[in-house]
């Protein structure tokens, strides 16, 4: 490998670790980012002559730290306060033992609940996954300027409100971990549900989310972390079967299960078992367990619906949610027939919470269609169509409506 290739490889494998440590050592995101770039700039100049150091990461942190102190000293001529900051940094030592903790510190800081949720996701993708603001903007269908502003504002709040750079204490961990897992799952869903099949960057988002969750599990093997990783792997395993050759959405019961990625399924199922065996599982483990039951069935008809309904019952006790009730209603329809499913969905719609949720109306449409109540099916699908903005979903519902109107019915 050429030297520049080696430096590039070191950048890919170490830059986020170096950044995480520099933020701790320097106490400032922007200063640390500049220091990181300067350190690599010096490396490119020096390593061809001096050779690559034994511990490139420690070398990079140390070089970046000196560069930052230099910079502060130069600016201190105009702002005396910076001289003090530079002296403090000069005096403080840094240890290399803490680097894995630094990565966790970075994750927990980027996902701090005192930052706006959309800012948490943008900051996480920028600082931990090293995506550019353009890539993040593309993924979230926002302008780069909006994303950049979100990130600047989040960093400003971290600095000015003094959000600490630390892994939460045991007592705080459950709630803080929830916030991290929510960000990872948000990133995953952005890539998974909004995918049009032609857009690679959005697929990258699901892979980034999985990579991030793997890192988190390695650093913090909590059952819910395993559960979320399993859930995402099991969803990801179905990706090849989720869209037809012409880019249309294919629902779970109609998917060609031969296309499912068996190695992802094996890894996901294994993680689910591991997480459930701790007896400390939560909503992500339960959702993963449901996905695992689907993954293990050779067809929709062969699925153990009874077990799925049971898992939904446990999930609903943990996190009451009308959307989960709707999913449960679909499982009940699979086991007991469309009439039982329809009764549950109608009850949900009457309660009003899902009135504007297109999937509730398309489930109603599907049950009515199966029961031969075509007029009701048609109006339910029409209602669903009016409520969704996503192009593949719109096409899917329009296709169902066309089938209802075709002479076969």
């Amino acid at each position: 490998m050429t030297l520049s290739g080696q430096v590039e490889a070191i950048y890919r494998s170490e830059s986020r670790r170096v950044l995480a440590t520099l933020i701790r050592v320097l106490g400032d995101f922007d200063l640390a980012e500049e220091a990181l770039h300067e350190a690599f700039f010096v490396a490119v100049q020096r390593w061809p002559e001096d050779g690559i150091p034994d511990n490139p990461r420690a070398w990079l942190v140390s070089t970046g730290r000196f560069k930052a102190i230099d910079r502060l000293r130069r600016q201190a001529r105009f702002t005396p306060l910076l001289q003090e900051q530079a002296d403090t940094l000069q005096a403080a030592d840094w240890s290399d033992d803490d680097v894995e903790d630094d990565r966790l510190r970075l994750i927990f800081t980027c996902c701090h609940p005192a930052l706006a949720p959309d800012a948490q996701a943008a900051l996480t993708l920028r600082e931990i996954c090293d995506l550019s603001t353009e890539q993040i903007a593309h993924a979230f269908l926002a302008t780069p300027a909006t994303i950049a502003q979100r990130i600047v504002r989040a960093k400003g709040k971290i600095r000015d409100a003094k959000i600490p750079y630390q892994v939460p204490s045991r007592a705080e961990l459950p709630e803080r971990l929830d916030s991290v897992l929510r960000v990872i799952y948000l990133v995953f869903n952005e890539g998974y549900t909004a995918s049009t099949g032609a857009d690679l960057t959005r697929e990258d988002l699901t892979l980034e989310a999985i990579r991030l969750c793997r890192l988190l599990m390695q650093l913090l093997p909590e059952p819910e972390v395993m559960g979320l990783l399993a859930l995402m792997l099991l969803h990801e395993s179905r990706r090849p079967a989720r869209t037809s050759a012409n880019g249309e959405l294919v629902l779970l019961d109609a998917q060609d299960r031969g296309l499912w990625d068996t190695s992802l399924i094996a890894e996901g199922c294994n993680l689910v078992e591991q997480a459930l065996s701790t007896r400390r599982f939560g909503p992500y483990c339960l959702q993963a367990a449901i996905a695992a039951v689907h993954a293990e069935a050779s067809s929709a008809g062969e699925t153990d619906w009874r077990q799925i309904i049971g898992l939904y019952d446990v999930l609903l006790r943990a996190v009451p949610s009308p959307v989960i009730e709707l999913n449960r209603a679909v499982a009940v329809a699979m086991e007991q027939g469309a009439l039982a499913g329809l009764a549950l969905v109608d009850n949900l719609l009457q309660r009003g919470e899902l009135q504007d949720y297109h999937l509730a109306h398309s489930a109603r449409g599907e049950f009515c269609r199966q029961l031969g109540r075509f007029d009701e099916a048609r109006s339910a699908y029409e209602k669903a169509l009016s409520l969704t903005q996503q192009a593949p979903e719109k096409r899917f519902i329009a296709r169902r409506l066309a089938e209802l109107n075709s002479p076969r019915q």
Binding site: P113, A114, G156, K157, P164
Partner: protein, 116 residues
């Protein structure tokens, strides 16, 4: 009798309008009140962008970015606290008994920019 004097202002123009006070003027006034024996506590605040709102419901702490913006509820009191960082401030704020029924906005205190 104690009185709380609350300062409201459009923070976009707080420091830039022709009539805006310089921090040194604010400090001088605070020192004058202090000398007269009437000062209990006074602090300038960082902009609302640094605000975090904390609530405690059924023993569960909820933390959201941003200031308290509910016009149906009114200011009921204040705590000026010393905390290591925002996490510690949030813990203290969340345990304020009134956080169970109301909301507590946590804002960092700003340092006056006055030459020593």
């Amino acid at each position: 009798m104690k009185y709380l004097c609350l300062i409201y202002s459009d923070e976009q123009v707080l420091h830039t309008s022709p009539d805006s006070p310089h921090d040194s003027e604010c400090l001088a006034y605070a020192q004058a009140i202090q000398a007269s024996g009437r000062m209990l506590a006074a602090e300038p605040l960082e902009p609302v962008a640094t605000a975090t709102t904390v609530r405690m419901r059924n023993g569960k702490l909820s933390i959201t970015d941003g200031p308290f913006a509910e016009t149906k509820e009114q200011l009921a009191g204040f705590y000026l606290i010393e905390a290591r960082d925002l996490n510690e401030a949030i813990q203290v704020a969340g345990d304020i008994p009134a956080a169970r029924v109301g909301s507590v906005e946590v804002r960092p205190v700003r340092e006056l920019n006055v030459p020593q």
